[in-house]
């Protein structure tokens, strides 16, 4: 397997706050990567830099071997990097189906988008398939603002999927979600991964991360301190020191 996404020595500071200080990690094609770390360790900032929402001060990101730094969010998305947000961001006043259709223009010219109706049949079917996939099909014509928090997470995943990105960055997909729905999301991710989509997941739910990911990277103070298979990471003393000390208890709780 080759490296799909390579982050090398990223640095970013917001005023006096050093959010990232030389962070590096690699994501192999076809894998599910996990990214954990205490709050404020720079995980979301890393996502924001990769997807073009924030500019880095130094360092490089490459995707499929090509440099990515400086790309705007729409350009990064067009290359095939989709993401979801920690606090879900859906288009609240559009219907669920319309939300799905926003991202379908990926390979479409400007003039074409003007003359083309928003409801081409092929895309509708694809959108409805994906809504069925995440279990929201029967809500297709509801206003997206009426969805529950968990449903919004699923909708956000579904509308990113419609553009068929090769890698999806998920920011806390299991945060604030009930256990049944977490299983739902987990099984969706596994299924998509089997079909070839690469994932990078930020998550505080240890059970979720350790059970799902091929490789887990631990961040602390803006650096990736350890990276490896879940079992190895779990046992690493540096990780215990920085993060897992408190999390062992949490995962014990979750195991009962």
């Amino acid at each position: 397997m080759s490296d799909l996404l390579v982050v090398d020595g990223l640095e970013k500071s917001f005023g006096g706050l050093q959010a990232l200080s030389g962070c590096s990690l690699t994501l192999e094609e076809g894998s599910i990567g996990g990214l954990i770390g205490p709050n404020g360790s720079g995980k979301t900032t890393l996502f924001n830099i990769v997807t073009g929402y924030v500019r880095s001060d130094a360092g490089a990101v490459s995707f499929k071997g090509r440099p990515l730094v400086g790309g705007k969010p729409d350009q990064v998305f067009a290359l095939g990097i989709g993401r979801t947000f920690q606090l879900t961001r859906i288009f609240a006043r559009l219907t669920v189906l319309e939300n799905m259709l926003v991202a379908t223009q990926r390979r479409e010219g400007w003039l074409r988008s003007m003359v083309r109706g928003s409801e081409s049949t092929v895309e509708h079917e694809r959108a409805m398939d994906l809504l069925a996939f995440v279990g929201l099909a029967r809500l297709w014509d509801s206003s997206a603002g009426t969805l529950s928090y968990g449903q919004r997470k699923l909708l956000e995943l579904a509308y990113v999927l419609i553009a068929e990105p090769s890698v999806i960055l998920l920011d806390e997909p299991a945060g604030g979600i009930n256990p049944t729905l977490i299983d739902e999301i987990r099984s969706r991710i596994v299924e998509l991964n089997r079909q070839g989509t690469t994932f990078l997941i930020v998550e505080h739910n240890m059970e979720f991360v350790m059970g799902l990911c091929d490789k887990v990277t631990v961040m602390d103070m803006g650096c990736a301190i350890v990276s490896g298979p879940p079992d190895q990471v779990r046992a690493d003393p540096r990780v215990l020191d920085a993060y897992l000390g408190s999390v062992e208890e949490a995962s014990d709780d979750a195991g009962e």
Binding site: Y53, F91, R93, E98, T104, Q105, V115, G117, R138
Partner: protein, 371 residues
């Protein structure tokens, strides 16, 4: 609603503001508007009173301009208080060109109307390029500032005639039917505007404008080229508004900087849209159709230009108090809830499965523009 048997086939993405609207209600709405437009088209045939057709010309111009304002600002959430720039530019382009070409004031003058629209659209490009980089309140303030820059230019540039204004050639049509050509051209521009922004609403481009209204950064992260989409919408609105300004200039027969670039115009098109229901196709049309005749009538009747402001104030208070989202969405909800109640009663109190209107808690926010 039925379960998801063949939902894709029934998917209807044209519902205003993404709200769910039953097909019957929509069909009734389209029918009613067809009838209203037909009546409007026939007004000059039956009413040969110039006062009425004169009110009609202004009303049609404002319906077109409010619809254009809504077509950009209502869809995208970028509340522009500078559309008067396009109105004034359209007025000056028509007048200036007609004078330079030594045109006699006949029907041929109307050939300049699309040209005036183009002139306004060209002005919208640098205007949008500066203003559309900022959002919300800042955008509103910038559009006002740019508006006054244009008014100031009209006062001070040589070819605008400064504060003494410009006079377009006057047609030699006879008194009783003098207004009719203006009336029909304004009607044509109105139909063009309705079709244009109805098409926008149905297109992918329109969906992107709505997505920008809800969450611009998120839309960007889904590949929407936001600046380009916003610019296109802004330019389309400018084109229609410029045509409206051109008809206004030719009709009034004299333009001055403070009336061509009129701050009251900026506010009026926005208020008409809020009044009728922002983001809907028919809201701005209804708003202008109600408010503009009242304004014109009061101005003519009492010859004090500002009596209408008092009536305006009262009307706005009433609408804001009783239907804060504007007339069209509020009446739509009202009809839906009536139907739902009837349905429940007819069904002998069975469990009401359905037709719950979309929980409105997030909608009133939108009805007042971007947050």
């Amino acid at each position: 609603m039925s379960p998801a048997a063949s939902p894709a086939a029934k998917a209807d993405p044209t519902a205003p503001l993404g709200a769910v609207q039953s097909r019957a209600v929509r069909r009734a709405g389209v029918g009613a508007w067809g009838a209203i437009l037909l009546v409007i088209a026939l007004v000059p045939v039956f009413a040969d009173n110039p006062t009425i057709t004169s009110i009609g010309v202004f009303t049609l111009i404002f319906m077109a301009c409010a619809s254009a304002w809504n077509g950009f600002s209502g869809y995208s959430g970028y509340i522009s208080l500078g559309n008067g720039v396009f109105y004034g530019t359209g007025a000056y382009v028509l007048t200036y060109t007609a004078i330079r070409l030594n045109m006699s004031g006949g029907w041929s003058m109307f050939a300049l109307v699309p040209l005036a629209g183009l002139g306004a659209a060209v002005v919208a490009i640098p205007f949008g390029f500066v203003a559309l980089r900022v959002r919300r309140h800042t955008f509103v303030v910038i559009t006002i500032a740019i508006f006054f820059v244009f008014q100031l230019l009209a006062f001070n540039l040589g070819f605008t005639g400064g504060s003494s204004g410009l006079t377009p050639p006057t047609p030699n049509w006879v008194g009783a039917t003098f207004n009719n050509p203006f009336y029909y051209v304004a009607f044509g521009v109105l139909i063009f505007s309705i079709l244009l922004f109805w098409g926008v609403r149905r297109s992918r481009f329109g969906l992107h404008l709505l997505a920008i209204r809800d969450d611009e950064d998120r839309a960007r992260g889904l590949g929407v080229k936001v600046l380009r989409v916003k610019m296109t919408g802004f330019v389309l609105a400018a084109f229609v508004t410029g045509m409206g300004g051109a008809i206004f200039a030719f009709f009034v027969g004299q333009i001055f900087p403070q009336f061509a670039y009129d701050p009251v115009f900026d506010v009026t098109v926005a208020l008409m849209t809020f009044f009728g229901g922002i983001g809907t196709i028919s809201g701005p049309l209804l708003g202008a159709l109600i408010l503009e005749p009242i304004e014109q009538y009061l101005t003519i009747q009492y010859s004090i230009g500002s009596v209408y402001l008092i009536i305006y104030g009262v009307l706005f208070l009433l609408v804001l108090m009783f239907m804060p989202r504007g007339i069209v969405p509020s009446v739509g909800d009202w009809v839906r809830s009536l139907r739902a109640r009837k349905w429940r009663q007819g069904d002998g109190g069975a469990v009401p499965v359905v037709v719950t209107p979309p929980a409105p808690e997030n909608v009133p926010v939108g009805a007042r523009g971007p947050e």
